[in-house]
Symmetry: C2
Subunit: 155 residues, 2 copies
């Protein structure tokens, strides 16, 4: 009996955690949602590849990033410069989990969680986690990041 | 001649600074822009008045705030609790300067700068400045803050 209770509890926990995995809330045409999801995935890949030009091209020409303790940084050149890491520093992991995406005409907003791991020049690694809000803009049929703001979630 | 040059320089500076003041970019119906601007102003007033219930009511029922070093905080009760300052701490100044507001159907985004001054319990005051992105949602004809994220601008 105790064993059965344990099994039911375990099953409930598994169900709950899988529910959690699909608790994302996407609204808009499927092709737009798919394009935005693909862009989010590409962004992480470009960052891990240190492909800063492709990273900057994820933003609209008038895109803006809002890093903590900095001014608003605007335009692809300035954004590329800001994302570029010093020699010897590598992004080992960058993963974004959107919680909600909503497309409204030629704009969309998206918020969620990001997490990652950085290899420092001294050989140490650090992990980090945060939350973000993005405003997307459709430019010539392509979804680009217009506003990108984030901050930390304390470990 | 030197004096004239000085006058021209001064005039140019005055023109530039007044240009700066009107460099805000608002797009949408005037009544929506006006309502959002009024809400932004009210928000600051409620915060300075320590009227946390009215402050929380600036958000939609499913509103979310993204303070640095915290999880995403959702719902009016949790938001009110988060904004409530300890006894003896006062907001002497809270001022928001929107740079861009764009209304898209029943949603809007807005980004800009905020700054303020806090009186601490020990009698000291501190000033602070930051940048923010807000996603607004029209609920029963009223503009409410749905997503509210910000971080510091280093002094």
């Amino acid at each position: 009996m105790k064993h059965l209770k344990h099994d039911i509890l375990l099953m409930a926990l598994i169900l709950l955690s899988s529910f959690n995995l699909v608790a994302q809330n996407y609204s808009g045409e499927q092709k737009d949602i798919d394009a935005i999801l693909k862009n989010i995935e590409n962004f992480s890949q470009y960052y891990m590849n240190a492909d800063y030009q492709m990273l900057a091209a994820c933003y609209s020409l008038d895109g803006k990033i809002f890093p903590n303790n900095a001014q608003i940084i605007e335009g692809r050149d300035a954004i590329e410069k800001r994302w570029t890491l010093p020699q010897g520093v590598e992004i080992l992991k960058h993963q974004v989990t959107p919680i909600e995406i909503k497309v409204i005409n030629e704009y969309a907003y998206d918020y969620g969680i990001y997490e990652g791991e950085t290899l420092r020049a001294n050989g140490n690694t650090i992990t980090w986690k945060g939350k973000y809000v993005i405003v997307w803009k459709k430019v010539d049929g392509e979804w680009k990041i217009y506003l990108d703001i984030w901050n930390d979630i304390k470990a």
